[in-house]
Symmetry: C2
Amino acid sequence: MKGYRELTKEELIKERAELNERYEKCKALNLTLDMTRGKPSPVQLDLSNDIYDTLKDGFKTAKNEDTRNYGIAPGIEEIRAIFADILGTDKDNLFMGNSSSLNQMYDAMMRSMVFGEVDSPKPWAQVEGRKWLCPAPGYDRHFRVTETLGFELIAVPMNEDGPDMDVVEGLVKDEKVKGIWCVPCYSNPDGIVYSEEVCERLAKMETAASDFRIYWDNAYVVHHLYEDRNTWGKLPDMLSLCESFGHANRVYEFASSSKITFAGGGISCFATNKDNLTWAKKFLNTQAICTNKVNQLAHSRFLPDKEAVYAHMMKHAAILRPKFEACFNVLEEELGFAKSLWKWTTPNGGYFVSFYAFPGTATKIVSMCKDAGVALTPAGASYPYGKDPADSNIRLAPSFPVVEDIEKAVSILAICAKITAVDKLLEDR
Amino acid sequence: MKGYRELTKEELIKERAELNERYEKCKALNLTLDMTRGKPSPVQLDLSNDIYDTLKDGFKTAKNEDTRNYGIAPGIEEIRAIFADILGTDKDNLFMGNSSSLNQMYDAMMRSMVFGEVDSPKPWAQVEGRKWLCPAPGYDRHFRVTETLGFELIAVPMNEDGPDMDVVEGLVKDEKVKGIWCVPCYSNPDGIVYSEEVCERLAKMETAASDFRIYWDNAYVVHHLYEDRNTWGKLPDMLSLCESFGHANRVYEFASSSKITFAGGGISCFATNKDNLTWAKKFLNTQAICTNKVNQLAHSRFLPDKEAVYAHMMKHAAILRPKFEACFNVLEEELGFAKSLWKWTTPNGGYFVSFYAFPGTATKIVSMCKDAGVALTPAGASYPYGKDPADSNIRLAPSFPVVEDIEKAVSILAICAKITAVDKLLEDR
């Protein structure tokens, strides 16, 4: 099949008519399909159904501490050891949270707002015109935190190996710029793994703000799609990398088990250097006596070390892989003939496929899909303020629906992508 | 036995010598006893060991929602219904947290600091010289939250039916006074239940601050010591009481299951009116996707209604009662002969016995007890800034140790109370 750009006006009109027929047929099916959020599917959640059976062995830690009672504010040692091993850092750098790492990010930023960081000239709430860097497309809930806290969101373009560091290095010369959101491994939504060079430049760069922070959300650190470990995203330990460049306070790293065990019912943690942690603990120890250690113990018994976590994640991968591949295949089949018009990512892990439609069509595509019973994340959702300047990116979340539904949904997406592209091309004829 | 005040100098000196002999004998026992914190004992925690067995029936709510996945930010309906019934309010006024109600208090106050309340002229962080009322003695961790957040802590005397309302009504004429801590049922540490009159005056009083808030920490709402329901502390529903006086936004109520199931491993909630909740949700929905609903489901199955909670609490009471009574008995036996010198509370619930030593001796008593191997909460801990102006109050926490240890520890406390009182009396001879 010829690419659309090579078609005559008449050919395009004919193609448009055929596509419209297909679209109307899809609409007539009265489908209800949802590709909006990165939720694990019930089969994935079933993998962890036995997690609380581990408590039959009692509620004591290896050190004979009773997890059913108050105490051990940073979390039990065994779970910190496992997460530290996964993140490539030391267990003493970790502080466990409850079930949400987003909550830990929000809390960390609220501390900065009210108390400032250990190296802040003043609390961030007192910094008029404070700004935050948002590699885009990125995670909408990240952007919402900084927007809610009154930061101006500065979009940074994403390259294939992470945020455009030339742009970042320029922006951080502004002392109002207090930090950056990063999902370094299988970024949301592009599935990009940051290159070593990007990590190094982030760690090394001089920032005008003395209290600049990287929010290193390692949400998908073990969320690989393939058995072959050569395909696994690998990252340097950002804590020691920052330290090696004299910026030891620069990074807060976050992780959770939401997409390992139960979504919103697992455990979370953050890791940071000693100065930051000592500072944070002043407030964390005021905020609560401790987090849910019974859940930490259950997790540490259910997945007792890094290799156990890897093995468990390969069970997830076996469920997710066909869903991602269904996405890739339908996109290739329907849209592969004209790759200059659109593109999509084929990540090795994470929870999303990022589709870049013909510029100026994403909003229309999402709306047409909705009319055909396919719910997609709103166009622009992955950009600061929900505005994609190119109106091109659509985040696809294939984890929750079954393969058959994904095929239907992505087919409809592809038809709509073609219709809207043809319409755009016809505008110029 | 004569009261000490009636003894001659010589008799006091003789008594002093006898007491000293007893004290030295106690020291020689090399005891290690801990009466510092209100922690449930292992036997109490055992009562809930089977809680996660309830998950054998699956992870779905009555409405067929999957608790293992994201969603249902306010918490599942069944658990909100149970807590609402206990608190005497509507389930739609409730928002569930994770394991710590203290954390919810801290979060609520951080929101006020950064964003203000729905009826605030400006965020509280911008209110120079902001103040908070602290009925004292009270809960040290409450006071620490407001101190950390830069409030001036204003002590309010406690009467036998709650905070001295004449004082409170005077203080709230200052618009810098933004709120008050209350533990209305079995207050920490006195075990006082607020009278209806006190509740009404709190709800009714005019405050200079438009955004004055009562932090109504109903930590011990079902924590009764006796089967006889006539002894149970009863409180009006503070939400509707405040509303009835035209101050619907005035109260945040908090509760948790920490001393029902697992301490720091249970679930928590807050209740407030619609305006406050709508305002809070703007930020709560930015902070996290949801709390741990699997734990909520387990709790709702393990203790499916208010009567089940009451029945469960009577099992706790059966364990706690002998411990409290051991306290009362030893105190009566050792110190009952001279009740003008000291006093102690005999609460019908909660987690503490409050001992008021002869003025000016509490610090010395705690230090002497420490030397004899008995750890007590530091004198003054229950007062703002850790300073008891009378140096009299000592908080006793009898829940964790076994009865035999409580008897030993309280005997030593009583001996030290007598020694220090005799010393004080001798100063005036």
